[in-house]
């Protein structure tokens, strides 16, 4: 794992143009502001969609709320771009950071959940009218999505408290004892 992480770190360090922007006087806080605006756009639009899947505002056909999803994608794109800029500037602060690892885990789970939804349920959802009850699994998909995105935000906010200098990377037990339980 260590070598792999080192390889990723070296790859990220090639983004020197991004790092140069980030190191200007207000570069870092400005990109942080963009990242937080992106998370707000992503979380708000996906939350409305997820809550509709879970049964809120059920008098409106689910598919009508799908028009909000492109804005979730836009929020995600903004955050993938701005997030990469943090990574290219201080890669070691993320690559060896357990909070960042958990953030990636929840991002992956949210992604798998999206794939399951589009692969197995989207066609049926498109056919649903107002008041129709969709498959019960939709509620689970909505709940998993909103919980995963909230977890992504929480883990992201915790990154700063789990700087690799303070927590032993690559040792799950030591990490639990020193960093989570304390």
């Amino acid at each position: 794992m260590g070598e792999w992480q080192y390889w990723v770190e070296q790859l990220l360090l090639r983004g020197e143009y991004a790092a140069a922007i980030m190191r200007t006087a207000w570069g870092w806080p400005t990109v942080e502001s963009v990242h937080f605006a992106g998370l707000t756009l992503l979380f708000g639009s996906i939350a409305v969609w997820d809550l509709r899947l879970m049964g809120m505002a059920s008098h409106v056909p689910i598919v009508e709320f799908h028009r909000l999803v492109p804005f979730s994608v836009l929020g995600f794109a903004i955050n993938a771009a701005s997030g990469s800029m943090f990574l290219m500037t201080e890669p070691d602060q993320y690559i060896y950071n357990p909070a960042f690892h958990f953030k990636l885990l929840f991002l992956t789970l949210a992604g798998v959940n999206i794939v399951v939804f589009y692969a197995l349920f989207f066609r049926r959802v498109r056919a649903l009218g107002s008041g129709d009850r969709g498959p019960a699994a939709l509620k689970i998909i909505g709940a998993v999505s909103i919980v995963c995105w909230a977890a992504v935000i929480i883990c992201g906010r915790l990154i700063t408290f789990y700087r690799p200098t303070g927590c032993p990377p690559g040792e799950p037990l030591a990490f639990l004892v020193t960093c989570i339980i304390r």
Binding site: S33, F36, A57, I154, L158
Partner: protein, 164 residues
């Protein structure tokens, strides 16, 4: 007068706990809760404003009222977490002009949530754009608070250790 108030506030149990507790449930998770509240309040409101700007036209505007309780939940999460974060570093907040700007922006953003729903409201598109701009400015102000403060605590203030 201000210094003695801040000295008292920074000696309260909540303030000391926020600054000094090593627990992840103190400062770190309260800060994370503040971001979740932001997502619920400003995020869902932005979705509603996008609807007013013409996105998802088949969704009745009133359908968004179903999500209002979650937006108010977000607001209360952020009032509570905001009070705790303020209690931890009151000098840092009160001596930074930007803190008052942020509070003003939050007040405008929250007011627009109800104003825009009044049947007599005019220019909903303009108000929707203003509302989104207001939330983005609030977010930026919040982020910049971490970089623009002058005094971290009351000792800094009394001893005149001002950061640029």
């Amino acid at each position: 007068m201000l210094a003695s108030f801040l000295t008292w506030l920074e000696s309260t149990g909540l303030s000391v706990w926020m600054r000094e507790s090593p627990s992840v449930f103190a400062f770190p998770l309260i800060l994370a809760a503040h971001t979740i509240g932001l997502g619920l309040l400003a995020g869902i409101d932005i979705a509603h404003k996008l609807r007013l700007l013409g996105v998802a036209p088949q969704v009745p505007e009133a359908a968004f009222n179903r999500f209002l309780p979650l937006m108010w939940l977000g607001l209360w999460i952020n009032v509570a977490s905001g009070v705790a974060l303020f209690a931890g570093y009151p000098t840092k907040a009160l001596t930074n002009e930007l803190f008052y700007v942020k509070l003003g922006l939050v007040a405008v953003g929250v007011t627009l949530i109800t104003v825009i729903r009044r049947p007599t409201r005019r220019a909903p598109r303009l108000l929707a754009v203003a509302s989104i701009a207001c939330w983005v400015a609030t977010i930026a102000a919040g982020r910049f608070l971490a970089y623009t403060y002058h005094y971290l605590d009351v000792t800094d203030l009394i001893e005149g250790r001002r950061r640029p």
